[in-house]
């Protein structure tokens, strides 16, 4: 297990596998950060229920753009130009959850509740990681606090829909059904060799399966608390080994 701490000045001295894995994860992370706003800004900013909600959507997008900026900076410093992630169609995003469009407020709420929560889990993977510039970014309280803010907004909005009952509850259940499996899939394959190598190099903390289970335990409790039904965790999954 690699335990040294690496700063930018020593990056090129590292094993090629370390360099490749870091470059890869930074590009994916940048793509996911800008992938969120690209999913919801077009339809949700103009159609959010209230003007306050519209401003919250804009602020959320700005915060995700700032997370993108930080990841793009880290990637750029190690030679990876991620500007292509700004102009690529959603269908070409690295992670399947970011390949569509969000057109309803219910989907926007559940996206925050379930998918931004995965984002928080992913950022937590880098806490105390061996690449110091990345560890510094995620250990800055702003980035996790902002991500938690998006998760809380989505969770509260989802709970409010569920509490209304009737058609509102049915609509939010449908959105939960849709995003639940996408969230589970975001952790990747449970038997991923690459995931093991990330851990070996101290770039991630948990195996995919462990992080996914912790996430699942957290969201299952919240879904049940909202009075909603737990979706089938295997239906529509890309990675069935969980």
């Amino acid at each position: 297990m690699f335990t040294e701490k690496v700063d930018l000045k020593d990056f090129e001295k590292q094993d090629p596998e370390y360099q490749d894995l870091l470059r890869r994860v930074l590009a994916i992370q940048a793509d996911c950060e800008i992938g969120g706003p690209n999913l919801y800004v077009k339809h949700i900013l103009p159609s959010a229920p209230t003007k306050l909600d519209q401003l919250i959507v804009a602020r959320t997008a700005a915060e995700e753009m700032d997370h993108f900026r930080k990841m793009a900076r880290l990637a750029g410093d190690v030679g990876v130009d991620v500007t292509y992630t700004l102009s690529r169609p959603n269908q070409e995003r690295y992670v399947e959850a970011f390949r569509g469009e969000i057109k309803t407020w219910e989907d926007y709420a559940v996206f925050g509740f379930l998918v931004d929560r995965v984002g928080r889990f992913q950022l937590e993977e880098f806490l105390d990681c061996t690449y110091l510039p990345l560890a510094r970014v995620v250990e800055d309280p702003d980035i996790i606090r902002e991500e938690e803010g998006h998760v809380d907004f989505g969770t509260n909005a989802s709970a409010e829909f569920a509490a209304k009952g009737g058609e509102s509850k049915e609509r939010i259940q449908r959105a939960v059904d849709y995003w639940y499996v996408k969230g589970l899939d975001m952790f990747g394959n449970s038997k991923s060799y690459r995931s093991e190598r990330y851990m070996f190099w101290g770039l991630k903390r948990r195996p995919n399966a462990v992080a996914r289970q912790q996430y699942k335990d957290e969201i299952d409790a919240l879904i049940l608390k909202m009075g909603l039904t737990l979706p089938d965790p295997n239906k529509g999954r890309l990675y069935t080994e969980y």
Partner: protein
């Protein structure tokens, strides 16, 4: 001594995004305090946010960094 060559657009992209983000946050900060007393200010704030976000979502990076 760092010999690592940064990607060509790194500084320019960082600076451009700082400006985008600052612009949106400024507009949001202007709009929220007036939600109950001045709809014109709020509407203008939303319009300002939308204008910036439309540019970002369009993703015409070459134009921004030219």
């Amino acid at each position: 001594m760092n010999t690592m060559q940064a990607a060509p657009n790194t500084d320019a992209l960082d600076q451009q995004f700082k400006e985008f983000i600052q612009g949106i946050k400024k507009a949001v900060g202007t709009g929220i305090p007036h939600l109950k007393d001045d709809p014109k200010i709020v509407d203008q704030a939303i319009t300002d946010c939308k204008e910036i976000l439309d540019v970002v979502m369009e993703g015409n990076v070459k134009e921004w960094l030219a």
